[in-house]
């Protein structure tokens, strides 16, 4: 005997709701846990002064600066490269064995553990290219790491743009490039921004690839050719060496809040852009 539809419906809805609730509870728990432990450590001294005594006292200003600059370098390099590649693969080439191979390569690259990128960055940028441990080496390494994600998310976003828009733009006498720049990319923007934000998030949170390439100097970087320690690396070292769990949690809290802030700003800007158009 079959159950009445209303009953099965209610069952499915409650199951889905339960799964969503469980996800939210876990997420909120992690965030609240870290913030409760970390927020007490945060004050203006913590944010705006240099660390003292290996990080046991003082603040985290240099690591904050490094955590801003490193993802900026990574995105500044990976976003143009990745978006161009995705545009080329979707708008300028026809599906073939070559495009499938590039896509497969990008997927494989996205799955490589970050420490391998760190090792590669250390050998290639730090040693062979003699950039040394520096923000630049770290940024380049992170760029390589987030490139596949940006390519794939941009590709998906571009594919989701209705073909009718391309036809209309073409029928109005636009070249393929114009159509891409004026119609396809603006409509794919939300997906592209998502890809970039994923990249920013990974860059801010990365430790393994960064320790090997940007080093772990606690001094304030004077330029992108200086070694510097990011918040994530700082947290890792504080926790791992048992230097100060109070400072470690404080750093973690700042890290979480900055990721939150970056995402809020990005999505806010994107929503404004979308609302203007539809």
């Amino acid at each position: 005997m079959r159950l009445p539809p209303r009953l099965t419906q209610a069952f499915v809805v409650s199951l889905l709701g339960l799964a969503t609730a469980a996800t939210l509870v876990i997420l909120v728990f992690v965030i609240v846990f870290i913030l409760r432990k970390g927020l007490p450590a945060i004050d203006s001294e913590f944010l705006f002064t240099k660390p003292q005594d290996m990080g046991r006292a003082g603040g985290i200003l240099p690591t904050l600066v490094a955590s801003v600059i490193l993802p900026l370098i990574a995105v500044a390099i990976a976003a143009p490269l990745g978006i161009s590649t995705a545009v080329y693969l979707t708008e300028y080439t026809r599906e073939s064995r070559v495009t499938r191979m590039i896509r497969f390569g990008a997927d494989c690259l996205a799955g490589i553990p970050s420490i391998l990128f760190g090792l590669f960055g250390f050998i290639f940028f730090v040693t062979i290219l003699r950039m040394g441990w520096s923000l630049l080496s770290g940024g380049l390494t992170l760029a390589l790491m987030i490139l596949p994600t940006i390519i794939r998310t941009t590709e998906e976003a571009i594919r989701a743009v209705p073909n009718a828009y391309r036809e209309v733009s073409t029928s109005l006498g636009a070249t393929r490039f114009r159509t891409t720049a004026k119609v396809v990319l603006p409509n794919a923007l939300p997906g592209i921004v998502t890809g970039i934000m994923l990249g920013v998030g990974r860059s801010i949170g990365e430790t393994a690839a960064v320790i090997f390439t940007a080093g772990s100097s606690l001094r304030m970087p004077a330029s992108i050719f200086d070694s510097s320690r990011t918040m994530s690396v700082h947290f890792y070292i504080l926790a791992r060496e048992g230097l100060s769990s109070e400072m470690a949690y404080g750093t973690a809290a700042v890290l979480i809040l900055s990721v939150l802030a970056v995402n809020l700003v990005a999505y806010g800007l994107m929503n404004r852009f979308i609302r203007r158009r539809s």
């Binding site: 009718a164 036809e167 209309v168 029928s171 109005l172 006498g173 158009r277």
Partner: protein
């Protein structure tokens, strides 16, 4: 008779599927040519060959010749981008680009290098007036075009094509999704426009062809069965199949 488009033994293929079968006909300037025929008879394929929009499809292929003012549009002397500025198109479904009304209208003109603000404003007003839309939108040109009603969107698309000042306008069932009033407004606009343009109107609605077209062509299974003055096609067609179609016995 002057000739705008001369189509000579045109066959088109999508992969291994043939859409048009050795079609030959002439299209006269400053008149409305109606194309009727059941679904799948190649009407849309024909239109999209005339502005080379089929080029966007990877496995499309055309044989035969299409001459616009005597020049082969598939020949080396024709740049498809420039061709499309001369041969404008209005699609079956209204597709406003997701930008403002104003931006939709100046999209084409800006591509041709017109930057002068005043000149663009004139083009916008003129095109909107010709498509009978000006009075409804003149106070809200910065509104996103997607907020217009379906009928208004289709007239916007017509205006957008007019803004290119093309020589030929291709219309692919422009009133398939519209109510009778919006349809009447589009037809009204077409009647006014034909003095300045060559218009090719594909329609599923035989009554529409009989109302607005000067000449009518009947397509069936990718073949041109008959072409002639509209009155003749509807009252005394030569071919039995044409008669069956226009009298509604099949299709």
């Amino acid at each position: 008779m002057p000739v705008k488009f001369s189509i000579q033994r045109l066959s088109t293929y999508y992969g291994s599927v043939q859409a048009l079968r050795s079609l030959s006909m002439d299209v006269a300037p400053n008149r409305i040519l109606g194309i009727i025929g059941p679904a799948g008879s190649g009407k849309t394929s024909f239109l999209r060959t005339l502005n080379r929009l089929n080029d966007l499809l990877p496995d499309f292929r055309a044989e035969g010749r299409v001459l616009l003012d005597g020049v082969d549009i598939n020949g080396p002397d024709t740049d498809p981008v420039l061709l499309r500025r001369r041969v404008g198109m209005v699609f079956a479904m209204p597709v406003p680009l997701p930008m403002s009304i104003y931006e939709n209208l100046v999209y084409g003109p800006k591509l041709t290098g017109i930057r002068d603000y005043q000149r663009l404003g004139e083009i916008v007003e003129k095109s909107l007036r010709a498509a009978f839309l000006w009075d409804e939108v003149k106070d809200r040109l910065n509104l996103p075009a997607l907020r217009l009603s379906g009928g208004q969107q289709q007239r916007l698309c017509l205006a957008r094509t007019l803004a290119l000042s093309p020589e030929v306008i291709l219309l692919d069932e422009p009133s398939s999704g519209l109510d009778p009033i919006s349809t009447a407004r589009i037809e009204e606009a077409l009647a006014e426009l034909k003095s300045a343009y060559t218009i090719i109107l594909v329609t599923n609605n035989t009554k529409q062809a009989s109302r607005v077209a000067d000449e009518t062509a009947f397509f069936l299974m990718g073949e041109l069965i008959e072409i002639g003055p509209t009155e003749k096609i509807f009252t005394a067609p030569k071919d039995r199949r044409t008669e069956d179609y226009v009298t509604g016995r099949f299709g």
